[in-house]
Amino acid sequence: MSERQIELEVLRYRPEMDDKPFFQTYSVPCQEEWVVLDALNYVKDEMDRTLSYRWSCHMFVCGSCGMAINGEPKLACKAFLRDYQTKIRIEPLSNFPIERDLVIVQDDFIEKLESVKPYIIPKQEKPIDQGEYLQTPAQLKAYKQYSMCINCLLCYSACPQYALEEKFIGPAALALAHRYNMDSRDVGRSAREHVVASHDGIWACSFVGACSQVCPKDVDPAGAIQQVKFTSAVDYLTSFLPGGKR
């Protein structure tokens, strides 16, 4: 196993003593097969215990270790050091306030996620002893891609619309609303509509598409949003037809 010295330039912010963030450089002896998260763990374990960042699973499942690596939103567990030069700049995800060091404040996203009712709203609740709600493979396929979201927030960090308009519900929450709308067991589309199809929902998206490019799980939130725009526009137009809602 070969070793390589990597310079990690990490943005630090310690709210109890700093007025603004600053870069601190750590020179880390790294193994060739390491990811950025391994290098950060080395710093934490061997060099500076005060460094704060989130992580948990180390295998692209928990969605905790999102950060900007050389300016690009990435999961630190999926960013292999072999793909980088010897100097790597690490910052907390952009478009979010910094809580401490690489830890961002996620409250805004959590509220927005709740607002789209990200759970199955069945036509009729049935008791557990009546068994599962059955679904065909084709019905599963319709939404499975959107259910892969791990709430890592890379998409929000890449989205210029969210950066400029913080009321925007944003990519992941809208993709998750779509995920439940597309689920054959769910009838909650109209209950989500007032948030999803609002000015701050899908219509605030100008389809830059950066969210889908950075998504580590190929959820394609940009695609989901455009599809919802289509169904929502059809809803609007058909509401003028005889028997429509209008």
């Binding site: 709210p15 306030p97 910094i98 396929k141 100008s206 598409g209 394609d220």
Partner: protein
């Protein structure tokens, strides 16, 4: 301990300079302006045609003048940018499921190019160019 989150400002005017993918987006958006202007030019041409032969030949002279030709080349380039960037994005907005499979994006994009080619040939035939 009380919290003191640090907010980073984003420039409202220069945000798109930050990343090449934002610049591509801007290029795509700006290309629509050229398409819109060209639609305007064609509509003016139609009005000129309705006003009689003199007005029409005046319009024709304007669009075939050196400046008119440069303008056409510019519009052509931006139209290509506009069309190809939209075609590239179509499979995202148009997700077609057949049974348990999603129709591959390249097929959808290919179909768009096919229709584009056919329509272009028809237009050229109707115009008597081809």
């Amino acid at each position: 301990m009380s919290r003191k989150p640090y907010h980073r400002e984003v420039s409202k005017t220069t945000w798109f300079l930050k990343q090449s993918r934002y610049q591509h987006y801007m290029l795509h958006e700006i290309s629509s302006v050229f398409v819109a202007i060209y639609v305007g030019v064609l509509i003016v041409g139609l009005f000129r045609l309705a006003q009689g032969p003199e007005a029409w030949s005046g319009w024709l002279a304007a669009v075939t003048s050196p400046i008119g030709v440069i303008f056409h080349i510019l519009v052509f380039i931006f139209s290509i940018i506009h069309t190809t960037s939209w075609f590239k994005a179509v499979p995202q907005a148009m997700r077609i499921q057949r049974g348990e499979e999603i129709v591959p994006g390249n097929l959808i994009i290919g179909a768009h190019y096919g229709v584009w080619a056919v329509v272009s040939v028809v237009v050229l035939l109707v115009a008597g160019v081809a």
